[in-house]
């Protein structure tokens, strides 16, 4: 399975929750598959999906799912100790780990080589780290939501992209409708 197939699979689960979606193709794919006002699409700023999601989770009580990529987590490794030491039990970090920088042409990442993001998350002090195969992502995600415990999920999948249109929504519109959804 590739990332877009995982997103299609888990879209019915994501729909009921606040979602921070990573820059580039992940946001474009989620936007095309199931656009919701509860989705915050990152149009720039690689690496900060987990930081933004943790901020939202610490600020209010609704469940927040940050969809991140292996390359983006590698860009912002400092996020994992921050997450581990600021536990928000309404926060789930879903790292879709395809071992490549998908949006830029599938160049390989170190997470697809020797580096295990799950092992790094554990070493940083994260308490609920689950590595799963792509096909099990929905079940693992639903279990994490039900557990009401902060969880880091590393979903191992194949690299590969589909053709998707760019997001043309104005960033302030994306932000405003997301904030309205947070408050509703």
């Amino acid at each position: 399975m590739i990332r877009s197939e995982i997103l299609r699979d888990i879209a019915p689960i994501l729909r009921d929750h606040l979602v921070i979606c990573n820059i580039g193709l992940p946001s474009q794919e989620l936007h095309m598959i199931d656009d919701q006002s509860t989705n915050f699409y990152m149009l720039g700023t690689m690496g900060l999906s987990s930081s933004i999601g943790l901020g939202v989770a610490l600020a209010q009580d609704k469940t927040v799912i940050s969809i991140d990529g292996d390359g983006s987590v590698l860009t912002n490794f400092g996020t994992l100790p921050t997450i581990a030491n600021n536990v928000a039990d309404n926060f789930i970090l879903l790292i879709i780990d395809n071992g490549s920088y998908g949006s830029t042409g599938d160049q390989p990442t170190y997470a697809g080589k020797k580096t295990s993001l799950a092992a790094v998350a554990n070493a940083c002090g994260c308490e609920n780290v689950v590595e799963c195969q792509a096909k099990d992502t929905g079940e693992v995600l639903q279990n994490a939501i039900n557990s009401k415990k902060m969880t880091i999920i590393v979903s191992k999948c194949d690299s590969g992209n589909i053709k998707v249109p760019v997001i043309t929504k104005d960033p302030v519109v994306i932000r405003d409708r997301f904030m309205t959804a947070v408050q509703s």
């Binding site: 149009l43 720039g44 901020g55 939202v56 610490l58 912002n76």
Partner: protein, 168 residues
């Protein structure tokens, strides 16, 4: 009242309840004061762009965020300030130690100091420079301005403002 207490009092009075910090020697007192306040969720960051991401999330979740960091961070955070804070129009008070100004003992700090104002100007970030302790009287108005206009705003605080670096 210490200047650190006054600064954090102004944050609290303006509803700032989520502050991320990356340490600087000059900011140690104000960071201690942030940590001590029950009204504020203090979340140290490992890098300033991570901190700005946390602040963006906290703002969207309903908090009033701020970041406390050194001016070297302006070199680290340009992309994040532009593509996140400014692009999505979010408020962000940035209390910044202005290293490399008069009385600075470390030569390398000057290298970033000479670019600090220019970078902030280039980014069109409203910038205030606290040089004397009485300059902090404007902090309350600066915070109100930041949350009124939904922009990042820089408050540069130099060595003279903090009382120097002690005996040299």
């Amino acid at each position: 009242m210490s200047i650190s207490t006054k600064i954090v009092d102004d944050f609290v009075a303006n509803g700032v309840d989520f502050i991320t910090t990356v340490p600087c020697k000059q900011l140690a007192g104000v960071i201690d004061e942030v940590e001590a306040r029950d009204e504020i969720y203090h979340i140290p960051s490992n890098k300033e762009d991570e901190g700005i991401g946390l602040c963006a999330g906290a703002f969207m979740g309903g908090k009033r965020p701020a970041i406390i960091m050194q001016n070297t961070a302006i070199g680290v955070t340009v992309n994040t300030l532009v593509t996140l804070t400014q692009f999505y129009r979010m408020p962000l008070p940035m209390l910044i130690s202005y290293r490399g100004e008069l009385r600075e003992p470390v030569a390398c700090q000057v290298e970033m100091a000479v670019h600090t104002m220019a970078l902030l100007n280039q980014l069109h970030i409203p910038t205030y420079h606290f040089h004397k302790e009485s300059d902090a009287d404007e902090l309350d108005a600066i915070l109100k301005y930041t949350f009124m206009c939904n922009k990042p705003v820089a408050i540069l605080t130099d060595a003279s403002f903090w009382g120097g670096y002690g005996d040299q």
